[in-house]
Homo-oligomer: 363 residues x 2
């Protein structure tokens, strides 16, 4: 069974001139469709230029959308009977998942109807489906997932990739990751000449695995033609530091690094709340410092930068955290809208193609 | 030239009954010998049962030791003319480093004079020298560096290994890391049946690299005989969580994970201080919350758990952070003294040998 389309609820044609149409998988995610619809509503309120195709159970979504005034006339609901669960194996889902909301959400990007798809669902399944349906860009062997990681940089974030599309990456893949990350930093963060660092266990050139030494030479060789600054090897501490704008690594290492960082930040948050609850004085202090602490929270809250972007495909997919609430979903949608408005994927494809052509010319 | 010995300054024979003699490389480290001697003094004040052999430049160390009353009569200074720098290649140092303070510090453990050696120097050089001079325990192919990582556990820390002894580890190595980590958790943290987790990019059994799937089976197979609880695969977020007491991984991944975590914690610290400085109200708040914030700092301060322990050698070596100040050095010395008092290395050797014998009996 394939997903059914219902156009009845969309009043002004989404995708009309001046509008950005986003495709949203409304069913995946630990918090359920209520949180996702609430996140869409938050975004719709702030950004009058976006509208949505929501994919999922029509009855549930109709009821939820009706509760949010900002979504009135800006949501098309496309029925999909099934949902990909967090336990489903990617290999299984790509064979049997045609009737799922995730499949339907990707389909909107494949047909060109929507510019970007957003999902909170199972990352492995979303990547597998995206690869099968959208296919890889010419010159890209392994797509990557890129995230923004809070850092001491002037812009407040580093781009890090791959954080989990694939557990392997050879030297050629790492070069592509560098090119794609540079394109993301340039278009998404307005850095004309991003600094690129290659993640390793030491900054000395003789250290690390052999594919890293090879990637080091490749990335250095493309520095001038691709317009970035290669700062060489960087270490785990540089992910949140100010020595690079783009951190390149394989998906195994990157995934463990960001989850370690998030876990550590969350433990510190718990301990900080405990500290403020400890005594009457410290409770009073937390009241006095409330505004400052909220400002801090905004700066380091992972929900504010929620959204891994799949790079290297014919179309952009934003993966939101499975546990994202409305604030988190809304951050992912904001990112999706920015990327759509910048025609990010076309620029990225052009960048990879241009560098590869020059490389082939040179050899 | 080999290190020269000078016994003249040691009044009561260190190593006498009831005393724990620690061997300290007094020259390695970014903060120089003054910080290391100050750290020894802090420890000596708290713990009347320890005494030191300090290795390094005799003239400098004599002058420094003279400034610290708690060290009077409890320090032997052993002259070593050279220092291993942070830039020295391990392969170079093991051939030419006989006259360095690091070599001399390890030598005290090799001869059995001191129970444990402590150094803030170049990790790669320290590991290479320790392997060459102390040699590996029977049954251990790759030694590992274990650290205590702040976590939501009742004991407040997880044991994590390897964090950088070697960039590779096969399934057999990962099993040995589990056994050594269990021994550390049991003897150093009083956990009779530690929970062991194997670090991966997902908790599902089908995920991850092939050596991890193989290690999964091996670690599970030894659960009963070695007296631990195998919780299966864990993710980056579990390093600071409460799902395991021992986190097993290869040295590449482990090194990047702990440095990412430390970097993130340090960025949050900077942002927190900024937040408290922001306004008059928030400055007042930070005064009121001072005691609570200091308590928090003690809990999450990496200096308080300073010290990676080299496991799998005939002798124990504690690697302190290169940038450790007196408080950090003193934490590393406290750990060294605990391990010496517990005859930790003998117990670890017995544990690995016993498990391997059972394994060989079974096959």
């Amino acid at each position: 069974m394939t997903a059914q389309t219902d156009h009845s609820s969309a009043k002004p044609a989404p995708g009309a001139k001046g509008h950005t149409l986003l495709s949203v998988d409304a069913m995946g995610g630990d918090e359920g469709p209520a949180a996702i619809v609430a996140g869409c509503s938050l975004s719709a309120k702030i950004n009058p230029h976006i509208s949505f195709v929501l994919h999922g159970d029509k009855a549930q979504l109709d009821a939820l959308v009706a509760k949010h005034a900002p979504l009135r006339g800006r949501c098309e609901i496309r029925h999909a009977a099934d949902v990909v669960s967090m336990e489903d194996k990617p290999s299984h889902v790509v064979r049997t998942g045609q009737s799922t909301s995730m499949w339907s959400a990707i389909e909107s990007v494949r047909t060109g109807e929507a510019a970007v798809a957003v999902s909170c669902g199972n990352t492995g399944a979303l990547m597998a489906m995206s690869m099968i349906r959208l296919r890889k860009l010419p010159g890209v062997n392994r797509p990557a997932i890129a995230v923004l990681y809070p850092s001491a940089n002037p812009q407040g974030f580093n781009v890090m990739l791959d954080v989990g599309a694939d557990i392997r990456a050879d030297a050629d893949d790492l070069l592509r990751f560098a090119l794609m990350g540079v394109s993301y930093a340039r278009n998404g963060m307005d850095i004309p000449h991003p600094r690129v660092g290659l993640l390793n266990v030491g900054t000395e050139e003789h250290k690390g695995r052999s594919e890293l030494k090879e990637a080091y030479e490749l990335i250095r060789a493309h520095e001038d033609t691709a317009g970035y600054v290669f700062v060489g090897f960087v270490e785990g501490g540089d992910i949140s530091g100010d020595s690079a704008d783009v951190i390149v690594t394989d998906g195994f290492t990157g995934n463990i690094a960001i989850k370690t960082g998030e876990g550590t930040a969350s433990l510190i948050g718990v301990r900080l709340r405990e500290a403020f609850k400890y005594s009457l004085l410290s409770r009073l202090a937390s009241l006095l410092a409330y505004t400052s602490l909220m400002r801090l929270r905004t700066k380091i809250d992972p929900r504010r930068v929620n959204g891994g972007v799949f790079l290297g495909l014919n179309g952009t997919v934003v993966k939101s955290h499975g546990s994202a609430d409305a604030t988190g979903i809304s951050a992912a949608i904001k990112l999706a809208a920015q990327l759509a408005d910048n025609q990010f994927n076309d620029k990225l494809a052009a960048r990879v193609a241009a560098t590869l052509t020059k490389e082939e010319d040179a050899t």
